[in-house]
């Protein structure tokens, strides 16, 4: 697999403001990478650098092996799709006309428009004016626009803001389709729940600095956050108090005669599970690994404290 995006020590500076500093990462073909961070963390600045809308102040940016801000920008841009945050398109045109305009500008065949509209579920609304579209429909039109000309790299800036859960699920299903087709996808989000199954790696940014980069499993390992284990059953009071965990570092969150909640370091997970499952008093077990949201909170607060 070749790298579609390469960042090497990239920084951007506007006078005294430094929205991005010393960022290095790569995105390979067929990979979905999420850029996570609060507002002003550098997500949009990173995207603009990849799109060649701005030039880096330091370091090098490469897309498809070329400089996105250089002379062959146009050739690179034909292979790239972008969905900006909050785009409302041309209200007086129909969905089909909007796509026709963008397809012409991208120098790509207008024959694909009907197929694209069907793919994002807008076939029935294709000839209606964009003015009458809901937020979800506009976002799907935006995605169709980003997919014009079979791009090899798609950038999605906060793609699911304002979408309901069903629309969000549909949206990520389409992202998965793209990845399976070998397209690299970079998406930025601060809406965290539910995106874990759809991303390969996450890059967590804070105040323009990279805080963590890796797959969810790698991030979990690095953060070493405890898992939560919940058990239900029937046992005498105080049954789980005291040192019955054979030396495992267990943190008792809640316990009564029917329910138990424990915080357990990842390394002691199996020991505790064995203990619980060997007891006849336990009827059910629930295992909750740290969510992306808790990882994000961990990395953004922990690293910022270290920097201060």
């Amino acid at each position: 697999m070749s790298d579609v995006i390469v960042f090497e020590g990239v920084g951007k500076r506007y006078g005294k403001l430094e929205p991005l500093s010393d960022l290095s990462f790569t995105v390979a073909e067929g990979e979905v990478v999420a850029l996570l961070g609060h507002n002003g963390a550098g997500k949009t600045t990173s995207m603009k650098l990849i799109l060649g809308l701005i030039a880096a102040s330091s370091g090098t940016v490469r897309t498809f092996g070329g400089d996105p801000f250089g002379a062959n920008t146009d050739a690179l841009r034909c292979q790239l799709g972008y969905l900006p945050e909050n785009v409302s398109f041309y209200e007086q045109l129909s969905g089909r006309e909007v796509l026709t305009y963008f397809a012409r500008l991208k120098r790509t065949a207008p024959a694909q428009i009907g197929e694209l509209l069907a793919r994002v579920g807008l076939a029935a609304a294709a000839n209606r004016r964009v003015k009458t579209y809901s937020k979800g429909m506009r976002q799907r039109l935006g995605l169709a626009q980003a997919l014009l000309g079979r791009p090899r790299l798609v950038l999605l800036d906060e793609p699911t803001t304002g979408l309901d859960p069903a629309a969000t699920r549909d949206f990520y299903a389409m992202v998965k389709e793209l990845r399976d087709g070998g397209c690299a996808v970079l998406l930025s989000s601060h809406v965290l729940p539910g995106i874990e199954p759809y991303i390969d790696r996450a890059l967590i940014l804070g105040d323009g600095r990279p805080l963590a980069l890796g797959s969810i499993a790698e991030l979990r390992q690095e953060a070493a956050l405890p898992l939560i284990i919940r058990a239900t059953g029937a046992w005498p009071a105080e049954a789980w108090n005291g040192n019955c965990w054979e030396g495992a570092a267990v943190d008792l969150v809640y316990a009564d005669t029917q329910r138990l909640e424990l915080k357990v370091p990842a390394g002691d997970k199996m020991a505790v599970l064995r203990q619980l499952s060997s007891s006849a008093a336990v009827h059910d077990l629930e295992l909750l690994p740290p969510t992306l949201e808790s990882l994000y909170t961990h990395f953004s607060s922990y690293r910022q404290e270290a920097a201060a």
């Binding site: 785009v87 398109f89 041309y90 007086q92 500008l105 991208k106």
Partner: protein, 276 residues
Amino acid sequence: MNTIFIVAHKEFRDGLRNRWVLAISVMLGLLAIGIAYFGAAASGSVGFTSLPTTIVSLSSLAVFLIPLIALLLAYDAVVGEQQQGTLLLLLTYPLQRRELLLGKFLGHGLILAVATLLGFGVAGMVIAVSADTIEPAELFQSLGLFILSAILLGWVFVALAYLVSTVVVEKSRAAGLALLVWFAFVLVFDLILLALLIGADAATAGSWLPYLLLLNPADCFRLVNLTGFEAAQAYSGLMSIASEAIARPSLLLGALSLWIAAPLALAVWLFGRRQI
């Protein structure tokens, strides 16, 4: 070059779609017929009378309306696209900023040209048919020059509107600034010139003051249409200071063309440096 035409085609179709072309043509046509008919009311009669009266009336209408229409049509060309998020998107497409702005100019320019030609053209035909005192051949010659200069005047203010649109960051400010531009060129400039004329030494003022008229595209337009007629002098007010030296249509149309090229070039340059 192809990209410019794609943008222009879209802008022109927008103009047809939201009925700009229709609205401008109908308004200009009706007002032109009305004003030509009642233009001579001051002299005690109504109806289509002489050619100079008609052209003078039409140009005093156009000098107010055309700039206003052009500014309204084009003031949000850049800032409007930015506010709806499409500018950022367009700039990630394989097109140069220069191509985007020139394409828009071509589209808006065509909207204005078609509407002006339709509106004043139909008015001209109505006048030609109903006025028996006006020689059709003469009418069409004067009207042709009038329409040509009106289109150029419209393009000047489209270019000025782009300039406005590239220097502001909010649509509402662009609208305010566009109105200010209209006010300055259509009203304030002449008042200043009048003040200069009164203050200046009458003997020497005649040699340099007329050239100041070239600094205002609205005055250039007036001069093109007034100087052809002896009789028009009576109606032309400030225009009567224009000497023979500058009252040549070729010079005036050239000045108007320069007034299109300069603001447009400046707008393209500023747009290229604009922070997105």
